[in-house]
């Protein structure tokens, strides 16, 4: 085919330019390290890169929230540890106060000690993290969640614990009132009490917290409210007791059909199926009564201590009232300690879980980075070989152009 000189000049120059452009593009890929620089290079990859980048950024945000959560949980864990120590000391003080030999003023010392411990516990309950957030606060309040209004402590908080994320469970506070104000009363299954508020006991008898011997038998009972009343044999002076079902008003009978039993201090009363408790000391047969009721989730750490303090501060209290207060106090403290421990276990578990969330989120970030790198980054070996290839072809094009361009018949026409 004929080649037009003008076209051959034009086309070889544009071929040179194309080669140069290809080489500079290969060089650019090597210097930026990116295969996909513009969406047009590979639209699908560009969209994938975009998603991966956002996924990575979300993961980083999650990690930041996770750090905040871990910080709060660590503080809460140590606050609950402190609270447990204080409750343990209160329990020890109560045990000591049960010493029958103590005089009224000695008991007052113990009462003061308990009051001090109570105040410390109150401070722990209202503890803040460094940023002014309440550890045991709940959604929607910033003032101290627990208010001491003199006679009782109430919660100004409501809602649930503050969550750090809607996706993962990253608590920023724990549900405080459940830990501090809503402990199960009694021994957690049933609670015992002496007398009623209308007619306090006058004798020196006291009732133990009792224990569950057969949970299914207790659960099967229609009624969970019983009263113990005493009668005194006028001739021998021996005390006997009977247990009444408050719901029906009928007396409880043992296997032999007996409804009245001889009283012996400290002997277990087992006539109510499934549970066992003991009355000790000398109850007054004229009106003293002891009651068994279902445990309710309303035991308040501060109220329990306040009750014990009030009983111990009374210099005229008889041995029965003191023992009742001590016994009830110890049982309450056990419940409180249980509540602290379970909350601490939950916080510990949360901290554990946060580690899991962290490694999972780290994995997600890594996966996103890998995706990004896979679709976007250039394979250096390939890029270098391609660059060399392009360089060679550009060189060849330049050389051949200059050689061909020199050839012309005019060079051989001599004037």
């Amino acid at each position: 085919m004929r080649v037009s000189t003008a076209y051959s000049f034009e086309s070889s120059v544009s071929a040179l330019q194309r080669r140069q452009e290809e080489m500079s593009r290969a060089q650019q890929q090597m210097t930026t390290g990116k295969r996909v620089e513009r969406p047009g290079d590979d639209p699908t990859a560009a969209a994938q890169v975009e998603r991966a980048l956002v996924e990575e950024s979300r993961g980083r945000s999650m990690l930041r929230t996770l750090d905040a959560s871990r910080n709060v949980m660590t503080l809460t864990e140590s606050a609950l540890g402190d609270a447990g120590d204080l409750a343990q000391r209160a329990r020890e003080a109560l045990v000591a106060a049960g010493n029958g030999g103590y005089s009224g003023s000695e008991r007052l010392t113990m009462a003061n000690q308990l009051k001090e411990l109570r105040n410390q516990l109150f401070a722990v309950a209202n503890q803040q993290d460094g940023a002014g957030n309440l550890l045991f606060g709940r959604q929607g309040n910033t003032s101290g969640p627990y208010v001491d209004n003199g006679s009782s402590v109430t919660s100004a908080a409501n809602g649930g614990g503050l969550a750090g994320s809607n996706v993962e469970n990253l608590p920023l506070s724990i549900d405080g009132p459940q830990v501090w104000l809503q402990v199960g009363s009694g021994n957690g299954v049933f609670e015992t009490s002496a007398g009623t508020s209308a007619t306090p006991n006058t004798g020196s008898g006291w009732v133990s917290a009792g224990s569950v011997t057969d949970p299914s038998a207790w659960n099967a009972l229609a009624s969970h409210s019983y009263s113990v009343a005493f009668t005194q044999d006028p001739s021998t002076g021996a005390l006997s007791y009977s247990v009444t079902d408050d719901a029906t008003g009928s007396a409880m009978a043992d296997a032999n059909g007996n409804t009245s039993f001889a009283y012996q201090s400290g002997k277990a009363i087992t006539v109510v199926p499934g549970i066992s408790f003991a009355v000790s000391g000398t109850p007054d047969a004229s009106g003293d009564s002891f009651h068994v009721g279902e445990s309710t989730p309303d035991l308040n750490v501060f109220k329990a201590l306040d009750r014990a303090v009030a009983a111990l501060s009374n210099p005229n209290a008889n041995n029965g009232q003191v023992m009742q207060a001590v016994n009830a106090g110890i049982s309450d403290m056990d419940q409180v300690l249980g509540s602290f421990q379970s909350a601490r276990a939950m916080v510990g578990e949360t901290l554990n879980r946060l580690d899991g969330v962290e490694s999972r989120t780290g994995g997600r970030i890594l996966a996103a980075q890998t995706t990004r790198s896979n679709v976007e980054d250039v394979d250096m070996v390939q890029a270098i070989s391609e660059f060399t290839n392009r360089q060679t072809s550009y060189q060849a094009a330049l050389q051949s152009y200059s050689m061909v361009q020199k050839l012309s018949l005019f060079n051989y026409i001599s004037g």
């Binding site: 080649v3 037009s4 086309s11 639209p43 998603r51 945000s61």
Partner: protein, 470 residues
């Protein structure tokens, strides 16, 4: 038979050789001129002179100078050139559109995610003014990124409009010149000789015109060339050139429309009617690619504004009304009929206006409730824009633009190589090859020398005759 006939034989050979040398010189001189068709001399043997002893040749006659021409290839070059310039300009504009939409860490998707994440920090510290300040800054970032993206699209549009105006002016100039040339060509009709250089000039002008708008050509008997656009709209008829006009769209003045005035009737031509040429490429970019990108951008701006403002209104800010009751959050973004071009952070937004708290009678202090901040953060993963999450929608937009660029690039590659093939084919028929011309130069020079030699011999013959008489 006489010696003078030998003289005239030599002279005719010399004249023919000179004509060929001068045509070769013309070819060499025009070797680099666009649209020049190589010319050659058509020489014919002069008819013989009868004598009793047969026909004696009377030398050579120069019949005409003709140009190498191939109507099919010339038309092919114009048509492929037309398609190539449409694809090229669309590809260029799409390249600019592609760079106006930032990607990765400079992209809308990442910036919006930064905003969603900032709400996560507010959720961790609902009352922290610095976390709230970050939200406002990120919101401002996002709004200004929307604005600047919309701004660069608007300037692309005004570039397209300007370009269309310039193209229309250039087309009107070219059609006028073609019409003038038609007149000059028609004027030579009486002569059997063709005005080669005028025809070349007209073909070249039509080729230039084709790069703006694709035309169909119909040659008339008088040698003038009629041109039509969009199938059957007259553009040049004889010595009349009809005017193109560029004017803003009646319903959307930011768009530019192209119309052709024929006999007082203005007819609008869109990219599909124009088929090829720079104007078709520009119109296609304006009506399809840029319009789609603008719609996507406005949909995203509208979607995120609505979602975030609604969520703000569903929560409580830190501000209280006259009765001490917390008030709902103010609108985070404001947007008007201009769409993304005028997206701003709500007027007078302060850190206290961010609604981090949920609303509810049980919430005594919005300072320590984070439910609404979490919901704001959650907007990053919920469908806020046309049934997709913001990120997904943005990824689709990027992929969409990317696919357009990719398609346009490959189409531009194909059509430019087709154009260059057609050019090469035409060049191989009509172009000047300097080596060939050099060879011809030698060849015709030798012919000239040979013919001169004949004259010399004729002179010798005369001399011999004359010396006989002395």
């Amino acid at each position: 038979m006489n010696p003078t006939s030998l003289l005239s034989l030599g002279a005719s050979g010399m004249m023919a050789a000179q004509a060929q040398l001068s045509t070769t010189g013309h070819n060499i001189a025009n070797a680099g001129v666009d649209g020049y068709s190589r010319q050659s001399v058509r020489a014919e043997t002069a008819s013989g002179l009868y004598s009793g002893s047969g026909y004696f040749g009377r030398g050579v006659e120069v019949r005409t100078v003709e140009r190498e021409v191939n109507g099919f290839l010339t038309d092919q070059v114009a048509q492929t050139n037309s398609q190539a310039s449409a694809d090229k300009v669309r590809n260029q504009m799409l390249g600019q559109l592609e760079s106006s939409i930032g990607t990765g860490e400079n992209g809308l998707g990442y910036t919006a995610t930064q905003l969603f994440n900032a709400f996560g920090d507010v959720a961790a510290e609902p009352a922290d003014a610095s976390a709230r300040r970050v939200v406002l800054e990120r919101a401002d970032d996002l709004a200004s990124m929307f604005r600047s993206t919309a701004q660069s699209m608007a300037s692309l549009q005004s570039g397209v409009s300007q370009d269309l105006k310039n193209s229309v002016a250039e087309v009107n100039n070219l059609t006028q010149r073609i019409a003038d040339l038609n007149g000059q060509v028609a004027a030579t009709r009486g002569s059997p000789q063709k005005p080669n250089d005028l025809l070349d000039a007209r073909d070249q002008l039509i080729k230039e015109l084709s790069s703006y708008v694709q035309v169909n050509r119909v040659e008339q008997d008088d040698g003038s060339m009629n041109l039509f656009v969009g199938g059957s709209q007259s553009l040049v008829v004889g010595t009349n050139a009809y005017q193109f006009k560029a004017s803003p769209d009646a319903s959307d003045t930011s768009l530019m429309r192209v119309s052709l005035d024929v006999a007082g009737v203005s007819r609008q031509l869109d990219s599909s009617t124009l088929v090829g040429g720079r104007m078709a490429g520009l119109l296609q970019f304006q009506d399809e690619d840029l319009a789609a990108a603008k719609t996507h951008l406005d949909t995203m701006a509208q979607g995120i504004t609505t979602a975030m403002n609604n969520q703000q209104a569903a929560g409580w800010s830190l501000k209280v009304d006259a009765s001490g009751q917390p008030v709902a959050g103010a609108a985070l973004f404001s947007i008007d009929s201009l769409g993304a071009l005028n997206m701003k952070v709500g007027a007078g937004m302060s850190t206290d206006d961010i609604a981090a708290s949920a609303q509810g009678a049980s919430i005594t202090s919005p300072r320590s409730n984070n439910a609404n901040a979490l919901a704001m953060q959650q907007l990053g993963t919920t469908a806020t824009v046309s049934g997709s999450t913001f990120t997904d929608y943005f990824s689709q937009v990027i992929a969409d633009v990317g696919v357009r660029v990719q398609t346009a690039t490959s189409r531009a590659d194909v059509s430019s190589s087709l154009a260059s093939d057609a050019q090469q084919q035409l060049g191989s028929v009509t172009g000047v090859n300097l080596d060939e011309e050099a060879a011809k130069l030698l060849h015709f020079q030798q012919s000239y020398q040979a013919a001169a030699k004949v004259l010399q011999v004729a002179q010798k013959v005369f001399d011999t005759l004359i010396s006989l008489g002395s």
